[in-house]
Subunit: 288 residues, 2 copies
């Protein structure tokens, strides 16, 4: 049920990107934007679409927010991969944008994808003005210096620090770096429905942290070919991870505990939340 | 009248930035964000505040949009100055962000400033949901791959092109690169007031183009110390500019003609538009 839905939603998002990108001038920067948005699991976009479906929101409204969050995620990857950041050559099994084009094109394509994310999340077809104002303001907060960029800034600060991060510090770092967008995605359905975001927010906070712990486990145990990116770079750089702090077994136990918490948070939605429950199981068992 | 108002508005925007930035963690990235937002003429912020005043909007509402557009402008400068883009060491008379910190910090600070711009333009105190949804959606369109970034992408494409740009092409390039944000700024007052944006849009399109022609004239005739940045780089790079295409006298005549057009567009507002009229004169006579 979950896997089929994820694949269906990924295809829907791909089609929507085609539609959106077709309206742009044909230039290296716009080609790089499209390239950067291809592939990926589309977990964030799925969370938007599925939370919206669960709450009875028309998918024709939710698709804009789903495509918007994937554009924002894509921008963050393009900039993260730059030589002055993580310096990665490979992403989703293909050359990174600055490798396929050049650094200037990668900076600009990322910048334009961030603007596009706000354009899509605030698209007139998302809903009434209240819904659109709510979606864009919460997205700005989730992605900026109190959300995703804060996590990235703490990550950079940790690299130059003498002492390795504690578990509390790495949890706060990851709550920003990956957690904020995952939380926005799951809450988007409630925002689109004009419903209370609290249960989905609790679900997503547990899910986001489980996702990151699973990422650290994958970084330790995974197969670079399946993952489509370089692995074990955190360990090589001597950076603290959930695995280095909790051990491999401890990290797996913590991820399972968080998946339980995520499931429990969905209790108010009953049987309708089945697919989101499966998503929580998926994030801790994925191999890429 | 105009000069005093510009100085007063610049001080107001500075105070607002202090307020906004005080809420952020103290990290290199957030310090770089604040640094990047210091100084500058604040022409865009002034256009927001003055168009709002003219239409009777409470400045306490307009200040959020004014600070937002200055955050967006600051992000574009930080990224423009990067080694992989224009590679500039000096901005507003001080080291550029990647010189004062490093490239990774500059990329992240710019990214966070873009998100901040949307957070400020969509701030609850800007007005009702309709106003906020309108401000943020139009800002996303003005700054992305159909606005500012399109202009930058066309600029990069022109650098590698065999044939120099025509007047039509450079006009389209600049309409994106600097025109889109100037137009958004002048129209913000009408959006805040829920009024027709058409006259302010006509005003700003003429003003923006006059501004860019004046910039090209300044690049040719100006004093690098007063300008606080490197000059004559377009000419050195053999790039087409309004001056290379129209000649110095032709460019000055065209800028004056556009300032007249900008003034004429303000006719519906009568005497209340006096300060915006003076702004049109200012942009073609400035020395920095």
């Amino acid at each position: 049920m979950f896997s089929r839905q994820l694949a269906e939603d990924a295809a829907r998002i791909e089609t929507q990107f085609d539609l959106v990108m077709d309206g742009l001038d044909d230039l290296p920067v716009t080609r790089a934007m499209r390239y950067a948005c291809e592939g990926g699991k589309r977990l964030r976009g799925f969370l938007v679409l599925e939370s919206a479906r669960m709450l009875g929101v028309d998918p024709a409204r939710a698709i804009w927010a789903a495509t918007g969050i994937e554009a924002l995620h894509a921008y963050s990857l393009v900039h993260d991969d730059l030589p002055c950041m993580d310096d990665d050559d490979l992403r989703r099994g293909r050359p990174t944008v600055h490798k396929a084009w050049d650094e200037g094109t990668a900076v600009l394509a990322g910048d334009a994808l961030q603007a596009l994310a706000f354009e899509l999340a605030g698209h007139p077809d998302c809903g009434d003005a209240q819904v659109r104002a709510d979606l864009t303001l919460s997205l700005a907060r989730a992605s900026g210096a109190r959300g995703m960029v804060l996590g990235q800034a703490l990550d950079i600060a940790a690299e130059t620090s003498e002492t390795p991060l504690t578990l509390d510090q790495i949890t706060r770092l990851q709550a920003g770096k990956t957690g904020a967008l995952i939380e926005w995605s799951a809450c988007a359905g409630a925002r689109l429905a004009g419903a209370d975001i609290a249960p989905l927010s609790r679900y997503a906070r547990a899910l986001g942290l489980a996702f990151q712990i699973a990422d650290d486990i994958l970084d330790e145990e995974g197969d670079a070919e399946k993952a489509g990116k370089r692995l074990r770079k955190d360990a090589e750089a001597g950076k603290a991870t959930f695995v280095s702090l909790l051990g491999l077994d401890g990290a797996k136990a913590r991820a399972a505990e968080l998946a339980d918490q995520a499931e429990a948070a969905l209790a108010p939605y009953g049987a309708g939340a089945q697919c989101l429950r499966q998503a929580a199981r998926f994030v801790i068992s994925r191999d890429s």
